[in-house]
Structure formats: structure tokens, C-alpha cells
């Protein structure tokens, strides 16, 4: 591969991608070799499975079965009744997929926005860097829940607005991490070499910078997803997300907490699922990060730098194509 690097505009486009893909796969495998990674993935998959397969098995989640907070095992099913006498089981089975989809969409938006901002800031530097990063600083200064609440109360509560709001609040974190990582990559000889060949900056970023950032992106994805889930569920809890009577884990916790003493499952079941999901995604992202670190000198330095969130100063240890290639073998 290193030989190909001498004709970057022809070959390098494919080569780093393949290398990066392999590295991502290797990192994932590395993460899955750890107990932490296995448990994290298992927890995540269990909850995701319940959320997306549950609706197939759920009865009508809005059907009324008698009085509120009926004890488990009665008319309202195995987990008892909720605040209006609806089946907690049916509502738990049906109440997760919306949160997950909304969180995933918000995360995707955060990742796209954040990486574009971070990479452009790093590669362009100078004025663009200052403008973007100071904007990021300002956005980071606003508590995310407060920001989304404000947005929703001004415009009104809509699912798309929840996605946009949560995405916007998560993007600055992504931008910051990605800028640190991209700054390092941009300084490397092979990138400079490509630029020297007269390749337009957009192409350089797309073909040579972004592929090297895949590992920090993976970690960020998992981290942002778990933050987004918590945020989206909090919004539902506060009554600004999904509208009743649609089942939703966050809404359920809010609706049923007055009946905690009569039927604890109305709160406990959705709370356990949400907590499990958050813990699962967190553990998994942590496992990826650790897998990278534990691969020692061959590990992806961009990720290490990104994780330590330090700005890459000039005169850092020079890292060339060789080191990257070694890492991807």
C-alpha cells in the first residue's frame, strides 16, 4: 500500500478506505474480545430487540382494562395496569422504537454536523477554525436539555424538532473531538503531499482525512447515541416528546410514578430498559476506546489524541503512512 501512496489521486482513494474499514472491523473485534464489550453489546441488543420486535407481539397499547394501576397478573396482563388501566406490558413492548429511531436520527445528525464542522475547522484553520470553534464553545455553554426545551416550547412539540434539537446539542461535542483528531491527520506528510499535488481541499478531506477519523467517529457515535437516548427520554418524561396516548418509555415513567406503590412495573419496566440501553451503549463505546488503546503503539493515534481531547501541537511525533498501515494489518 505504501507504494501506492506515490500516486495518490489514482489509488489512494481506495487504499486508505480499505485500510480504515479493516481497522474499524479490527477495533470492533478487539472490543468484542473484552468482557466489557460483550456485555455492552448484549445489553444494547436485548433492548433494541425488545423495542423493535416488541410491537409484533404487543396487544393494543391504548386499550383500557379497568381501573388504574391494577396489580400484575390481572386483566391488564403480566406487568399490571398503568395510570389509565392500560396494559404495562403492551405499552413497554410498543414504547421503545420511537425513542430509538428519534435518538438514532438525532445522533446521525449530530455526527454529520459535528464532523463537517470539526474537520473543516481543523483543515482550514485560521479564521474558519476560530469562527467554528467559538460557535461550538457557545453551544457547549448551553445545557442541552434547557436548549431543547426552549426550542420545543417556542416552536411547539414535533418529532422532527426533537431530532433537530437533540442533534444540535450533541453536534458541538462531536465537532470538538473530530477537530482534535483531524488536526493531527491534516498535518501528516501524506495529506500534505496530496494537497501539494493540487488536489482540491474538498477531495483531500473526503478521501484522505475523513477515512482516518473513522475510529474516533465510531466511539463518538456510540457515546452520542447514549446521550441522545437519555435526552429524548427526558423530553418525553417532561411531556414534550411523544404525545399521549402513544406508548413511550419516557412518558410511561412520568404517567405512572404516582402509582409507584400500587404497581411498580409501570415505572420500573421502562426505567430498567432505558437504563440498560444507556449502560449498554456506554460500555460498548468504552470497550472500543479501550481496544484501541490496548493495541499499544499500533493503535490509532488519532483516536488516542481525540480521547485525551488535547489539541495537537506542532512538533508532535511524526506519524506517516507506515504507522497507519502497520495499524491496519
Amino acid at each position: 500500500m505504501s507504494a501506492n501512496a506515490t500516486t495518490p489521486d489514482v489509488i489512494a482513494a481506495k487504499a486508505p478506505r480499505a485500510g480504515v474499514g479493516g481497522r474499524a472491523g479490527r477495533l470492533l473485534r478487539g472490543a468484542l474480545r473484552t468482557r466489557r464489550g460483550q456485555i455492552g453489546l448484549l445489553l444494547t441488543l436485548v433492548v433494541v430487540g425488545i423495542a423493535f420486535l416488541g410491537p409484533l407481539f404487543a396487544g393494543n397499547p391504548t386499550a383500557l382494562h379497568g381501573g388504574p394501576f391494577e396489580a400484575p397478573g390481572g386483566q391488564a396482563g403480566a406487568l399490571g395496569g398503568d395510570s389509565l388501566g392500560r396494559s404495562v406490558l403492551d405499552r413497554v413492548l410498543d414504547g421503545g422504537w420511537r425513542i430509538l429511531l428519534i435518538s438514532a436520527a438525532a445522533t446521525a445528525m449530530a455526527i454529520v454536523l459535528g464532523s463537517v464542522a470539526g474537520v473543516v475547522a481543523a483543515y482550514r484553520g485560521g479564521f474558519a477554525d476560530t469562527v467554528i470553534m467559538r460557535t461550538v464553545d457557545v453551544l457547549l455553554g448551553i445545557p442541552s436539555l434547557v436548549f431543547v426545551l426552549m426550542l420545543l416550547s417556542v416552536v411547539g412539540s414535533h418529532a422532527w424538532l426533537v431530532i433537530v434539537g437533540v442533534g444540535l446539542t450533541q453536534a458541538p461535542q462531536v465537532a470538538r473531538v473530530l477537530r482534535a483528531a483531524a488536526q493531527d491527520v491534516s498535518e501528516r506528510d501524506y495529506v500534505k503531499a496530496v494537497a501539494a499535488w493540487g488536489v482540491p481541499p474538498r477531495t483531500v478531506i473526503r478521501r484522505h482525512v475523513i477515512p482516518s477519523l473513522l475510529t474516533p467517529l465510531m466511539v463518538e457515535c456510540a457515546l452520542r447515541l447514549s446521550f441522545s437516548i437519555i435526552l429524548v427520554a427526558s423530553l418525553s418524561f417532561l411531556g414534550l416528546g411523544t404525545q399521549p396516548p402513544t406508548a413511550d418509555w419516557g412518558v410511561m415513567i412520568n404517567e405512572n410514578r404516582v402509582g409507584l406503590a400500587q404497581n411498580v412495573w409501570g415505572v420500573l419496566a421502562p426505567a430498567i430498559l432505558l437504563a440498560t440501553l444507556a449502560v449498554g451503549t456506554n460500555m460498548f463505546s468504552d470497550a472500543i476506546a479501550r481496544a484501541n488503546l490496548s493495541s499499544g503503539p499500533a493503535g490509532d493515534p488519532t483516536l488516542q489524541m481525540a480521547l485525551s481531547a488535547s489539541n495537537v501541537a506542532e512538533g508532535d511525533e511524526p506519524v506517516g503512512l507506515e504507522a497507519i498501515d502497520e495499524g491496519s494489518q
Binding site: 391504548t62 389509565l84 404516582v258
Partner: protein
Amino acid sequence: MSEDKKLNSNLDQGGVTRRKILQGAGAGALMFGGGSLLAACGGGSSTTSGGGATTGGGGGGEAEGKPVAGGVLRVGAQGGSNTDSLDAHNVLTNADYARAAQLYDALIRIDNKGQPQLVLAESLEPNKDATEWTVKLKKGVKFHDGSTMEAKDVLYSFNRIVKGKYPGLYALGPINMKACKAVDPLTVKLVFSTPYSLLEEALTLHWYLYIVPTGYNPKQPIGCGPFKLKSFTPGRESSTVKFDEYWDAPKPYLDEVKTINIAEETAQVNALQAGQVDAVDYLTAASIATLESSGQKVVISKSGGWVPFTMRVDKAPYSDNNLREGLRWLVDREQMNQSVFSGNGTIGNDIFGIYDKFYDKSLFPQREQDLEKAESLIKKGNAEGQTLQLISTPNAPGMTQMPQVLKTQAEAANVKINVTIQPTTEYFARSYLKVPFSMDYWPYAPYLVDVAQATLPGAPFSATYFNNPAYTKLYEEASATLDEGKKGEIVHEMMKMDYDEGGYIIPIFFPVIDGVAPYVYGVEPSVTGQALSTFQFQNFWIKK
């Protein structure tokens, strides 16, 4: 005791936050424990022990023995905010209602059965055409500053209400303040520009009509109520102490009432169980079992307060009465009552004012769910296949739950309803009295009093924009006649119009559910739709 004091000082210092309540109650126990656990490890004083659960349903109290003087009652009041005010004529939050009732009294008070009861007034006499009312006042009623309540104070109070356009204005009807006069220190002549035979009933909205001394300053809230102010922090708590010269001696029995704002029900219930407060108000049915199982008393009032669905009769598609009637036949009222209020509410029949002396249940067949009829009426109303947008807000018991139940029930008749629950601030800014299909919240008032506020054209809280000239004319006739028989007939005619073509669906009259510690007595169920016996604290007493 020392722990009790510590808890109290906790309350003193920062309002009540959920966290503080949990800390006070032994935080660890909350997670799975619910009621009894908390009670067992909370408090530390003897307050949580003993006391069988007593549920006052409908009207009976329990064998309570003779009232005992003394003691401090701590009330965990819901619904307060930073806008809390002690202004006698501008009560806003539910906590304001509780506090004002301690400080002030009015000419007439609504009793627990919804009937007018003379308080500061000795008698009310109309002239022949009901354009003038002569009010005789009780002798020797003292204000907290030691001055005596006189006719001029009544005029001053009513003037303040009219000038300030405070809510009590609507109860005073067509009053002509310029012509009103004090005949002697204990006699007031109230003059109205058109006949107003409804004055006595209208004055039952006593929480808007408190009598204050001439020159009243809301910053120093002086009234002739059973308690006088000791301290007040808006959004947090107030303390009032027994007024020794109260006109209705030996009441009040309590030495002091502390009214503490508690933002939400879970915190209220925990505070009561932990012995941090002695009474909590406006609970939902979900808390009944929790409190009873931990030995607290639960007072359930079947009230005449209503939480109607409102349909604007001037806005399509609701302008077609077929749709409105179809929706009325669609509701399964029993099921809604079960789901939302655990069956503690009273089934409604789309007519308000059920404790009015003229209300006769037998005149109107009770509407029950009839899906076929509903479906065909809705088809006739050209609303088939439409999605109806129902907007509500968490402002009162049932207002978020009832729309959900309606939506579910409507599915059975192939009617699609889209429910939106807006935050209260957004709702009052954008939707209240504006959107075509919504909900509203009313405490109990006699029928014609509500009519003046709700269903006449231009009424201040008309959410339905109901405007029927015949109906309006009937109201004018009713307010002009002193003939009770004739008035009754008119009321029945008007109720028929509400029933047949009104803009309200009134499936249930909500219950008011309060919790009090087992050593608190005198809290009777009341039909007014307000909590804790309409906040008549002078009747409460404590015997530990």
C-alpha cells in the same frame, strides 16, 4: 422531636423540593418501598403511627368528638408558583385560594353542599324588581387591625373588584357602584342597572369576593378571616396565626396554619407519610391506596366541579350539532370514570351545575355510549374520516387523561382524534379559548352563575362560543324574576338547550381527593370542587 424540628427547618429554608422530602424520609427506602416503607422509617415522631384509614365519601364525616383548640396545621398545597399572591381579590394559583381563605371572609360562603351560607351578611333582601338589594351586616365583626367591619368596607371592596376588573366582577353582574350606598354602618344598598335576582347565588363565588377594610393594601393583607398573617414567601410558604377576635368564636381551633408549596403529588404524598405536613390537597386517585395503606385519612369529595371537552360551535366541523351530539354519544362515561378517577367521579350528562337547587336529573335521559348512534351522527355531521385535533394541558385533574381515554374510545366508532398535551404556559398563550376542540376546568357554581361566565355570548370564559338568542333571552328573564317557580322552569329550558345543542361534553364531575394525617379532624367532603372543604381552615382541629 429533634428530628422533627430538623425537618421543619428544612422546610423553612428552601420551600420543599423533592430531594429534601426524600432526604427527610430516609432516602434509601423510596426506590421500591412506596407508601408503608416510607411511613415506617420517616419522621421519627409519633405522627405517622396508628390511625385507621377513613374515607369520607359523599357527605358523612366520622365520629370525631369535640373540637380541641390548639396546634399547628401544616398544609402541603399544590399548584403554587412564584406568582403566589395574598391579594384578596386576585387569587391565581391553587395555593392562593388556600391562603386567602385563611385571611379573609366574604358576605356569603358556599357550604359543603353547594348552598349559600350567610357569613358576614346577616340578611340579603331584594326589592320588588331585583334591581336593589339591601344587605344587613353582622354586628361587631373585627378586622385583623382591630377596626370594625362596616358598610363602607363592603362598598370599598366591591369598588376595588369592579375598578380592578378582578374575577369577582362577573359575580357582581350589572352592579352600578355609583348608585350603591351605605344606608347606615351595618346596612348596604347594592344597586344594579338591570334586574339581578341571582345575587345570592352569585355571591357563593366567595373566593373572589372577600371583604377588606377601606384603604386595603395587599402588601399588608388585612381581612376579617379566621387567621392573620405572620409571614409569607411567594412560591414557598406562608404562616398565619389564630385571630383571637374572630367573629365566629370559638373558631378557629388551630393556633397556626403553615401553607407550604409542594410542586407535585409524589412529594406531597411522601411529605404527608413522613409527617412533614399534616394535610395535602388535589391528589389523584392513584394516591388513595398509598395513603390508606399507611394509615393516613383520605377525604374524597364528590364534587360538582367539571372538566368538560369544549367544542367551538362557531367553527367547522364542530358548528354542525350532529358531530357534537355524535361525540357526546361516543363517550363511555363509566369507563372514563374508572380509568381516570378510579370510579370516584360523578357521571355527567353534559349539563353543568348539578348541585343547583333547580337541577333535576330525571328531566334528561342519561347519555351512555352508543357507538352506532355516534357513528351515524358523525357521518351526518360530515366529519367522517376527518382527524379531530384535541388540545389540552396538565392544569387540573383529568385534563391529560380524559383526552387519551376519549381517543381510545373514539377508535371504536372509527373517529380519529389526535391528542396534543401542551405545557400550561403554551396552552394559555396559544390555545385557551381559541382552539375549536379542547378542555376546560371549572369548580362548582350554581347553574346560572356559570351560564353568565361560560355560555352567554361574550361571556369571559366562553370556550364554546355558544350563542343562542333564545337561550340568552331566557337568562335575562331568569335574572329578572324573583319567582322561584318560574326561575326553575326557565333553568330547565336552558339546561335542555345545553343538553341538546351545547358545545360541552361533560362526561364526569371530578372528585377532589385530599389526604390528612389521622389526627386532623373537621375536613369534610365538599361539592365545591375545591380542596380541603373549600379551605375552611377555621373548622379544622388537631387531636394527637
